[in-house]
C-alpha cells in the first residue's frame, strides 16, 4: 500500500489514527476534574506536538540514518520561521507561500552550511554546525535586527504592505493566517458531558503535513538512498571502496533534513506569526537532539514520541503550581498534605527542568534505545504472557523501524 510494506503501512495507519483522534486522546479528563491539568488537547500544544514531530523526524533522517550529529539544526528552523513571517508581511496571510518559502530558504541555507560542515566528520562536524547556528543566533539577535527584529522577534504589523492581501482588516486589526480562507486559529469546541474537545483548523493543517512528512520519511528509510545513508553510519571505508560517493549523500540528506526543520519553522510561524531569534539558539538545537535520542534515534516513530514527551513536560508540568498541588492532595490530613505538596513542588512548576533532567538520565540509562525500546519491552511482556507454554516465541524482535 502506498509503496510500503505491511508493517510500515500499519504503522502509518496507527500514526494517522493517533494524529486525527488527538483531540480526544489528549483530553482524557473531564474539564472540571483535578486531573484536567494533565489534558494536552488544546490547539497550541497539539500544534506543537506535530510541528516538533516534523522537526525531529527531519533531524532523525540525518542523525538516525547517517550518524552525523548536527548541533545547529535550530538555525534552519529559525530561517524557516523568518522566511514565513516575511511572506506574511510582504505577500499575504495565506500559509501556502509562507510554507513554500520557508522550505526553500532553509534548504538553501542548509546547502551552504552543509557544504562546508560536511567536510568534517564526528564531533568536528558537530562543532561546525554548532558554530554556524550560534553565529546565526547572535547576529539575528543584534546586528541583523532590521531583518529579524532582534529580541522582540519578527511580528506582523498594521503597517506591512501585504501586496497580495490586505494590510489590515475592516475592523482595523491585523489579518490572521489562513489556508484558502480557513483561519488557522478557528476552533470548534465539542462539549460532551463534562469533556470539551477542541478541533482546530491549524492543528489539522499541521497534522496533514506531518503525516506527509512522516510518510516521506518512511519512504526514505525504505529506499536505496536510505540504505546508503545507513551504510554511511555503518562503515564509511567500505562504502568508499564500493564505488559510492559519500559527500553527495550526506549533503542531500543534510539539505532534506534542513528543509524538514524549515518546514517546521514555517508551520510554527503559520500557526503563530512571530519568529524569535532564540529559536536558533544552541539550546533549541540541543532540544531536538534530546527529542530524537529520548524517543529512539534511527527509529521511525521514536523522534515523534520524544518531541511529544519534551513538549508535554514543557507545557504541562511547568504549569502545575502549589495551589494546584494543594487541591490534588486536599484529601490528605493537613500535615501530610503539606509534606506531599512540599515534595512534589520540586518536580513541577519551576522544578519541571529537574523532572526532565531526571527523565533523560533514567531513559538513557535503562532504555538505551529510547522510549521505543521501552514500548517494545512492554509489548513483548504482554505478548508473551498468553502464550507462555506455546512454542518458544521468537524473542528476537525486529528493529523498530
Amino acid at each position: 500500500m502506498l509503496g510500503l510494506d505491511r508493517k510500515d503501512f500499519i504503522l502509518l495507519l496507527v500514526v494517522f489514527a493517533l494524529v486525527v483522534l488527538a483531540p480526544f486522546l489528549l483530553n482524557p479528563f473531564p474539564t472540571n476534574s483535578a486531573m484536567a491539568q494533565f489534558n494536552a488537547g488544546y490547539p497550541d500544544l497539539m500544534q506543537r506536538f506535530v510541528i516538533f514531530g516534523i522537526f525531529a523526524i527531519g533531524f532523525n533522517l540525518l542523525f538516525g540514518l547517517t550518524g552525523y550529529l548536527s548541533f545547529g539544526h535550530a538555525a534552519f528552523l529559525g530561517v524557516g520561521s523568518y522566511s514565513a513571517v516575511w511572506m506574511f508581511k510582504l505577500l499575504s496571510m495565506s500559509v501556502v507561500p509562507a510554507i513554500i518559502a520557508s522550505v526553500i530558504a532553509s534548504g538553501i541555507f542548509a546547502l551552504l552550511i552543509g557544504y562546508i560542515s560536511l567536510r568534517r566528520t564526528g564531533i568536528y562536524f558537530s562543532i561546525l554546525t554548532l558554530a554556524f547556528a550560534q553565529m546565526s543566533f547572535n547576529l539575528a539577535y543584534s546586528v541583523l535586527t532590521p531583518i529579524t527584529n532582534g529580541e522582540t522577534g519578527l511580528q506582523i504589523t498594521l503597517a506591512d504592505p501585504r501586496i497580495l492581501g490586505v494590510t489590515a482588516t475592516e475592523s482595523g486589526s491585523i489579518p490572521v493566517t489562513n489556508l484558502l480562507g480557513a483561519e488557522m486559529r478557528s476552533t470548534y469546541i465539542m462539549d460532551v458531558g463534562t469533556w470539551a474537545f477542541q478541533f482546530n483548523v491549524g492543528y489539522y493543517v499541521c497534522a496533514a503535513i506531518m503525516l506527509l512528512a512522516f510518510y516521506v520519511s518512511v519512504r526514505i528509510f525504505r529506499s536505496p538512498f536510505g540504505l546508503m545513508l545507513r551504510a554511511i553510519k555503518a562503515n564509511k571505508t567500505r562504502l568508499n571502496y564500493t564505488g559510492l560517493n559519500i559527500r553527495p549523500y550526506t549533503l542531500a540528506v543534510f539539505v532534506i533534513s534542513g528543509m524538514y526543520a524549515g518546514l517546521a519553522g514555517g508551520l510554527m510561524a503559520s500557526m503563530d506569526p512571530l519568529a524569535g531569534a532564540e529559536r536558533m539558539q544552541w539550546t533549541a538545537s540541543g532540544e531536538v537532539v534530546l527529542m530524537t535520542i529520548l524517543g529512539g534515534a534511527g527509529t521511525l516513530i521514536g523522534p515523534v514520541l520524544g518531541a511529544g514527551v519534551i513538549k508535554y513536560f514543557e507545557n504541562i508540568f511547568s504549569k502545575i503550581n502549589s495551589s494546584v498541588l494543594e487541591s490534588w492532595f486536599a484529601f490528605m490530613p493537613e500535615n501530610m498534605q503539606h509534606a506531599a505538596v512540599y515534595v512534589s513542588e520540586h518536580f513541577v512548576g519551576p522544578g519541571w527542568h529537574l523532572t526532565l533532567g531526571l527523565l533523560f538520565m533514567l531513559v538513557v540509562t535503562f532504555l538505551p534505545g529510547g522510549l521505543v525500546e521501552g514500548g517494545q519491552r512492554l509489548s513483548r511482556l504482554f505478548r508473551r504472557k498468553p502464550q507462555k507454554d506455546a512454542a518458544r516465541d521468537s524473542t528476537q524482535s525486529n528493529p523498530a523501524e
Binding site: F63, I116, I123, Q134, V143, T283, L358, M361, V364
Partner: protein, 343 residues
C-alpha cells in the same frame, strides 16, 4: 599599542578560564572516551563551593535589637558571625574576607568526591555507549545539578568578593612606560591567571613525571592497548575523572569573585569550552590550553572599538568564526590526532 597590550591581558584572563575547563574536558574525552556535558556543571559547583564557604564562615547567631524595628515593626535581628564571636572581630573579619582562598581547601576534597561519585555511579556505565547517549545522560545530569543549586541558592547571582587586599587594580602601564590609567589590571585577575598557570602546570607535571600520568597519557594515545596491559584501568579512570572534576571545580572557586556565581553559569561556559576543546584538537591537552588562550585573546581583540567599527557585531561571533576557520584549515584542530572522535 596600549590598547593591544590591554586586550592581551584581558584575553589571558578569559583564556585561563576557558583553558581550565577545556583541560578537564579533553582529559575525560581522551582517557575515558566520554563526552561530558556535565563538565560546565562541575565548574558551577566549584563556584558555589566558594559561595557556600563564604556563607558557612559568616554563619551567624541572631540576637534581637529591641531598640530598632524592621519594616514590619518587629525588632531588628542582629547577626553576629560565629567566627567573630570565637576569634574576635578582627581575626573573624579577616577569615570571612579570605573566604574564597579558604574555599580552595574545601573544594579539592569535595570536587574529588563529586567526581568519584559521578564516575562510579553514572559515567562508568556509559564508556561503551554511543556518544549520543553520553550526551543525553550527562546533559540530564547537568540539568539536575543545576536545579539542585537553584533550589538552595536561587536563580540570582550571589556576590562572592575577593579578599580586600586583592581588590582594586594595578596600574600596569606605568610600569612599562605608559601614562597612568592607560593599562590597569585588577589584582584578582592577575591572581586568577597565576593560579590557572600553576594548575595547568601541575596537571602537566603530574602527567609527565608520574607513572600514573604515563598510563593516562598512554591511554589517551591508544585506549585499547592500555586496556590490554591488564593495568587496573578502572581505578585510573575514576582518578582521572576526579582530577578533571577538581580542576574544573578550582577554576570555578577562583572565578567566583570575577563574576558573581549563578546556577546557569555552567551552561554558559559549556558550549564555549566544547568549542575550545575541539579547536585545540580532541584529546590534546596542550591543544586545549593553547586554544583556550587563543580564543580568549581573539575574543578580547574583537571587542575593541576600532575593530567593531569596521566589522559590526564581530565580537558576537568571533569565537565561532575562528573555530570554523581552524577546523577547515586543520581538520583535527590545532593539535589533534587523526581518528579521535571522528565517528
Amino acid at each position: 599599542m596600549d590598547a593591544i597590550i590591554l586586550q592581551i591581558l584581558n584575553g589571558l584572563d578569559k583564556g585561563s578560564a576557558y583553558a581550565l575547563i577545556a583541560l578537564g574536558l579533553t582529559l575525560i574525552f581522551g582517557t575515558l572516551g566520554v563526552v561530558n556535558f556535565a563538565h560546565g556543571a562541575l565548574f558551577m559547583i566549584g563556584a558555589f563551593i566558594a559561595v557556600s564557604v563564604q556563607k558557612l564562615l559568616s554563619l551567624s547567631y541572631v540576637t534581637l535589637d529591641e531598640t530598632r524595628t524592621d519594616f514590619l515593626g518587629n525588632p531588628v535581628k542582629v547577626e553576629t558571625p560565629y567566627v567573630v564571636e570565637w576569634f574576635g572581630p578582627e581575626v573573624g573579619a579577616t577569615i570571612i574576607d579570605w573566604s574564597v582562598p579558604i574555599a580552595i581547601l574545601f573544594a579539592i576534597p569535595i570536587m574529588a568526591l563529586v567526581g568519584y561519585v559521578m564516575e562510579r555511579g553514572l559515567i562508568k556505565h556509559f564508556y561503551k555507549r554511543p556518544h549520543a547517549d553520553q550526551i543525553l545522560v550527562t546533559f540530564g545530569l547537568a540539568i539536575v545539578l543545576q536545579e539542585i543549586i537553584k533550589h538552595y541558592y536561587g536563580a540570582n547571582p550571589i556576590q562572592t568578593p575577593a579578599p580586600d587586599a586583592l581588590q582594586g587594580s594595578f596600574d600596569f602601564g606605568v610600569l612599562i612606560g605608559f601614562d597612568p590609567n592607560v593599562i590597569i589590571y585588577p589584582y584578582w585577575r592577575m591572581v586568577y591567571f597565576a593560579f590557572a598557570a600553576l594548575l595547568i602546570g601541575s596537571v602537566f607535571a603530574f602527567l609527565q613525571f608520574t607513572t600514573f600520568g604515563m598510563v593516562v597519557r598512554a591511554g589517551m594515545a591508544d585506549r585499547e592497548t592500555v586496556g590490554l596491559l591488564g593495568i587496573n584501568i578502572d581505578k585510573r579512570f575514576t582518578f582521572t575523572f576526579a582530577m578533571a572534576a577538581v580542576v574544573a571545580g578550582l577554576a570555578g572557586v577562583m572565578y567566583a569573585p570575577i563574576n558573581s556565581p549563578n546556577y546557569h553559569m555552567g551552561m554558559d561556559f559549556l558550549v564555549l569550552s566544547f568549542v575550545v576543546v575541539v579547536v585545540g584538537g580532541m584529546g590534546s591537552l596542550p591543544g586545549a590550553v593553547a586554544a583556550g588562550f587563543l580564543l580568549g585573546i581573539l575574543e578580547s581583540f574583537a571587542s575593541m572599538n576600532e575593530i567593531k567599527s569596521i566589522l559590526p557585531g564581530i565580537d558576537q561571533i568571533i569565537i565561532y568564526l575562528v573555530a570554523i576557520i581552524i577546523l577547515l584549515a586543520r581538520p583535527r584542530g590545532l593539535l589533534g590526532r587523526k581518528g579521535v572522535m571522528e565517528e
